[in-house]
Subunit: 502 residues, 4 copies
């Protein structure tokens, strides 16, 4: 990595010192293992792009679009805008509204095309130079190309090695930069040609939006693993985003999902947004976990509403494993629609009695060991009177490590419930994802290590059931989607360990 | 060493300059009218106190307690701790977890008593020196007394004037400092005597927790307008907090609510927590709006669970004003329990189809005028398929300015609903609060300016109903509570305008 | 409003974090032994005070006065001003012009009296809370008394212990705070009475200026060890300062030196500046090293011009130890006047050929060991052509550790001089000072450990002479001055080691 | 100007905000006319370069070299180093020791070649992006070429326009960037070829040092207007610097001055430092003002010692204009050697009685108008006893605007001198410099607007004399040097006003 000191001089000295500390820190920075010890798979990234044929308020629209995708990543965000033939980029740690608030010259970010990214770390360590959008510059330090990527390449390491041998210099440690550098390297094939050449090289899951000085583009891998939808505000203003809720956020109409293997792009020669299929007739193998957990309930993915999938999963698991009980409760937020579906199908009343504290985000500082015990009820607190001495069905979207479920059971027991019937509306998670979801390794996946009965005993519940894979396929209306974490069969060849960019 | 550095010189120079700027800024600072233009009454403050007879982890416990009260104020927070005869205080802008995270010497804040405060501005302008806890110092710059206050005094201005004529120096502009200075001034009456003398002077709504170097105290006004509950972790460790959810947060058992006119305190002579009634047999006139909107659903206030009140209010308004409809929806979060109650009573299915973006908090920066129009669906987005062409009952906890309701109706219409039946599960708000709730003035209260029919037409809904005051009293089981914002009759004499500390 | 914010909360969060770090740092801070490894005794502190009977620009005048005293201390500076019955104080690390530049509200510092301090650490470690002026506050956090001190108490430790047993709280670790707290404690004796009581308690060297809310004062120890002069701008505006150059700096006329044992002060009852002798007929025993090294050449101390003393010392040492040579050079800056005197007396031409780099101040960062060798000529570089093959008399004001002299000889030899005749115009320094000068301990004083001949050989010079004590007394016209560092006989009893406040 | 935001993300948020403010500020920044209202021509820039055939401590050596050149510029400084095929650059506002102190990874700056720059603004406004060294990068954001320049081009504006028409992007507003971009553009001619092509294009005064990834170079304009000397530490380590005092600073032997029109450089094919004359037999026309005022007295320029020139000028003006007087004094620092020369020639004794405050650097903040009067004696204070009632010859190096001289006379009169005989040891300055010295315009040059007699009356002195041009030429041994400011005849054609890069 090259030190980039030329801008230091424009900083007040104290900022300068901070930056230096930063640098020193970065040099020694190791991936902070366990810094964010979630016992649940966490959100992946969200991407957003917009192109118009005239200058528009790309500042506000990208803010709205990324805000609507905030659930897909809260660590950092950024945008690159093309404004009158020049490109500007800004990115920083923080929530969308926080980062945009620091921009004091919004007019600089109002142009005719924009891409944005909201980030949760999946590949590449948590180093700050890995924030997106990535960009390439010319010899005069001007940005000429920028992309934002959601997904995970499976051959990034190999490609990076090849490129470096050709003299290409990398400035970050994320697989996404491989995509940037490949396009940059192939720009003499024309923009569409460069993207095509890139797609023919990279493997894995990728939904990408990008801009050059005067063009916009977006493309999706041949399996369509990560979502990417297309909308339009008017006949000249197009939007591409990870989920349709971002289209709602900018007042755009949903047009269709970008196809697996498709490039959409603007060009000098033709008006409007062009489409090009790098490969015809690809099968859509979108990640099923998007429906179960990641996507927002008001989003449509591949024409199917997420909320509806969740409600149906609750109905279906009642059919699959009925039980006598007094009350149904859901683990907020993603377990609630399923609980309502379960109640509807079973006639057992739904009670919204697990109260989630909304001010989570930062971790607690707990200096004394004994206090860690008190931690249990802080995020979820039950309304005791509604469940005391009752037979309770508790619905969660999934069971990953098992620790959250265990804690939940403890909370319910403390509240005096009579019976606990645990229902997961996804099948047992038995294998890690290497296509863009931050699943733990097999060792930490409890269903990869315990049978259902063992897990029931471990959780100390009266019954435990998982939605079956066929039932999930039935709800989604497809056996082609990626169910890799439940079946260990993936649409992409599983990479040798060392080729993963991690 | 005391944490309260008197020296500017101990700051790095740039901090110093910032501080100076700060000073300059403060000098010229006017209350930022409309800086946070909510169209809804917002949360008031939360207070928390804990005392033990030995050193405990007051750092963690106050963090947990304040975190559980975060919904009562997100602007700033702080704690004062008594540790081995010395007192330390820290307070800053930000959420509880953010502020505690900046504390690098947690051990300093581990002692035998602590008070904390989480703040939403009600009285006193938004100047930073108004953050709580307030404290008084001796001539050696050591803290000797500290309090945190929830509520609003109605004669603070007059009292401040009197005290200043006696030579007392005020350092902030909040009514809460009047309480501090009165106790400080009367300390030669003994602690209990000083509190009693203070309570006999101040008027209005006040729940207060406080500490001196070796004692803890809490007291509540003669009407018990703001809530204050007592709990115990063990027989020697007592907790006082605004709501019982904070007791859950620290693993304490609920004991009872502090009585109107009661002082609880520790003393040198007696073991444990003492109680003293400044006036006997006061009637409890707790704010009814706490149940409707402020308090967390899992809290118990005066023995009544908040969630239950809300669910009953939904059932009751169905009885009061039934309607034919296809679906019931609630405005998240506080309208949802009522919607579920309404569904239960009416048999019309409840659908959780208004999706709230959880990353609100900062305001949007919207440079271009036209973009402000796009703003509508960003906070609440409906699942269109669930309500399109349906007759919808929409339940909200209250209607204050009417702008939120208006926007909501617009969202529903855009989603294609057939009919809209709006139900507010509180009576019309016709008068401002001057006892601790940040209600707008009468001019901005839409129900003070429109009849129900006018409002129905303004909102463009098919029907509109408010829960009646008698029905609300029925649910709460009391006609004595404060219903001032619905009736303009208050438990405390309405102050002349200029005497309000604003 | 008082400038002394008690609230952390009024700082932007990052400042706050810095402050906290600061605090943590301070807690663990050890005196940084050898952080400023001078091989020369360094300047002590400078103090300045001004009082007028009406509001004047105390901001500018104290800036000018302290700027003229900058040579007495460059680590930090500060002022306390009385402005319309209120007191404001500011102090920070840095040079006078730097610190004053950061003050954004100069009008706050314009009043009728001011004291200031420019600091080089002598007693108390280098912790930042030891910056002066010191001040005491009342219970409302308002400053009521402030002092600035030059000198060193010899019984501070004992006094501090006594005061703490009486309940007095100290906030710093400097002997100067003992003076502050003693006056504060005795304020009920009236201001003059409190100062008198303080002077009767403290022992050692002290020149002090101070202010209360409406009064000004200054006093000097019974031996007058540290200088203190009185001047007047007009008949109502008086100035007290360490040296007369500060009077010149503010356009004041020199009146006289403050007497040993004298208090000058303003009072409510009498107009103008009052004088009071705590003890009559004290002998003036001012530090002789002030003339030799510390004071500015344009200053008058006790009626004698410093430059003149230095020039005479050069003439005298020629008489005392004549030598044949081709050229006389002086070590800048304090050796130059003596060199000119030597030239005048001897007829040997003076050449200004040692060029001093004026941008010294910060230390060099030298990562590689070998480079430390190159360090020699950076501060002093000779004009080789003027001294090559010449017999050179080199005059320095003193020889302390010997390392500077050794390095100087090396520079001269490298330049090709034929002979070196070294002359120190002070006697051999054989004993440390404990009265306000930062002399090294006896172990590091080279003349306490080597005879003149040994030192001559160590320095590798052709001859070496020191001005004799009688000759120095002759020049100063007094045998009463303090010559402790040359004779080990002090005007104050030498304290037991542990009673020194270090 | 292109916004360079990619690094923002690596800053803590507050730094980020500061940077933004910075950016905003820069956008609106106008040259701060009169921000530093010197009444004297100020120092120009200093440059330094070093090359070795192996890795050496270029960090320390460039620090030492620039420190020795600090008198040539105190606003900012920076270095670019070539370390193992990679290049790193750092630059910031501040003195050399301050800026180097902030570097926390000195090892990064230890390589085989380095260039450095210490800056006083001459051309280009005071914007921070104009700090040097300048550098060019490749498309991977890596530095590939860097230069530091002392002097002033006279056709920079025209060249910049031409280059921009060819598509070259400029990132700063200094004439020095034109040199960088021309070399960069011509790199396919080889390094020497590119420099030659550049020298054939640019006109004016330029001494330049530079580095590429593996080569070092330095060159000087065809008149040799700004100084540039060559030295050697050993047979493989060469140093190039503005003045020979920097050679002393790094322990290098003076070799010779770089010739007018010469390039020295390293190459892949040959060992050691190569020399190439772009034009043969150029006449050396070095700036005579370097000897009079700019250069350090211990420097040798073109084989002549600066101190010697100054002393001779004092002797010469005695010959030219003798006077009866009691005492000779010099204005520190550059007037002192001349005063000593005058004393030597005349027999009138020299007295070092003007005491200069060494802590100047920052400007005073003087809020009240009346206080500006007091300002007089702060920088220079006389020892009154030495000059009172005396006939004084006062020697200064030059008279530029006349305000300093006027103030000086005022100081002397206040001290009671009987007669003042003013001597300037440079001729009258009648024309501005456009070749690298920050002279005021003709309107502000007092000798361009007053005859000697008028000026004598204006200054209110008893006699006034300037060293004549022939006498100066005699001392310097050359009529070829640049005497433009005294004669208005320049070695370079005077540019049309608008072509100057200002």
């Amino acid at each position: 990595m090259n030190l980039e000191f030329q801008n230091f001089s424009s900083l007040p000295k104290y900022a300068f010192q901070n930056r230096y500390n930063e640098f020193e820190e970065l040099k020694n920075q190791e991936p902070e293992a366990g810094a964010y010890p979630f016992d649940k798979m966490e959100e992946e990234c969200g991407i957003f792009g917009l192109v118009s044929d005239e200058n528009t308020d790309t500042f506000s629209l990208s803010q709205f679009g990324l805000f609507a995708l905030q659930h897909r990543g809260q660590e950092a965000c950024g945008i690159t805008v093309g404004n009158d033939g020049k490109m500007y980029s800004i990115k920083d740690e923080g929530l969308v509204l926080d980062v945009f608030k620091t921009i004091e010259n919004p007019e600089t970010f109002m142009g005719n095309c924009v891409i944005g990214h909201t980030r949760y770390t999946t590949a590449g360590d948590k180093k700050k130079y890995n924030y997106q959008p990535f960009f390439a510059k010319n010899e005069y330090d001007q940005i000429i190309l920028s992309i934002a990527h959601n997904g995970n390449l499976t051959n990034a390491k190999q490609l990076k090695k090849e490129l470096e041998e050709e003299g290409v210099v990398f400035r970050a440690t994320s697989d996404s930069e491989v995509i940037l550098r490949l396009i940059q390297k192939n720009l003499d094939l024309g923009l569409r040609g460069a993207i095509k050449a890139t797609m023919e090289k990279i493997e894995g899951a990728y939904s990408v939006v990008g801009v050059t000085r005067n063009k916009f583009f977006a493309f999706r891998d041949f399996n369509g693993i990560r979502p990417l939808v297309l909308g339009a505000i008017d006949e000249k203003t197009f939007v591409v985003a990870s989920e349709s809720c971002a289209l709602d956020g900018v007042g755009a109409q949903y047009v269709r999902d970008i196809l697996p293997g498709e490039i959409v792009y603007t060009s000098d020669n033709e008006e409007g947004l062009q489409s090009y299929l790098v490969k015809e007739n690809c099968t859509n193998r979108i990640c099923s976990f998007e429906y179960i957990y990641f996507a927002r309930p008001d989003s449509m993915l591949e024409g199917i509403n997420v909320h509806e999938v969740r409600e149906k999963s609750g109905m279906k698991i009642w059919e699959q494993a009925p039980v006598e009980a007094d009350v149904v409760i859901g683990v907020p937020d993603s377990g609630v629609p399923a609980a309502i579906g379960f109640a509807k199908a079973s006639g057992i009343p739904f009670r919204p009695v697990l109260i989630k504290n909304r001010y989570i985000g930062r971790s607690f500082i707990i200096p004394s060991q004994e206090m860690r015990e008190h931690y249990v009820n802080l995020k979820l607190n039950p309304i005791v009177s509604e469940i005391k001495d009752k037979r309770v069905v508790i619905i969660d979207d999934s069971i990953v490590r098992g620790t959250t479920s265990k804690r939940l059971v403890k909370i319910l027991k403390k509240a005096g419930v009579k019976e606990i019937h645990f229902r997961s509306v996804s099948p047992p998670i038995i294998a890690p994802c290497f296509l863009g979801i931050d699943t733990p390794t097999k060792d930490d996946l409890i269903s990869a290590n315990m049978t259902k009965d063992e897990l029931r005993d471990y959780l100390e519940v009266d019954s435990l059931e998982f939605l079956s894979v066929p039932n999930l396929q039935d709800i989604l209306g497809s056996k082609n989607h990626c169910f890799g974490c439940f079946t260990e069969k993936y649409p992409v060849e599983k990479p040798v360990e060392e080729d993963l960019f991690q």
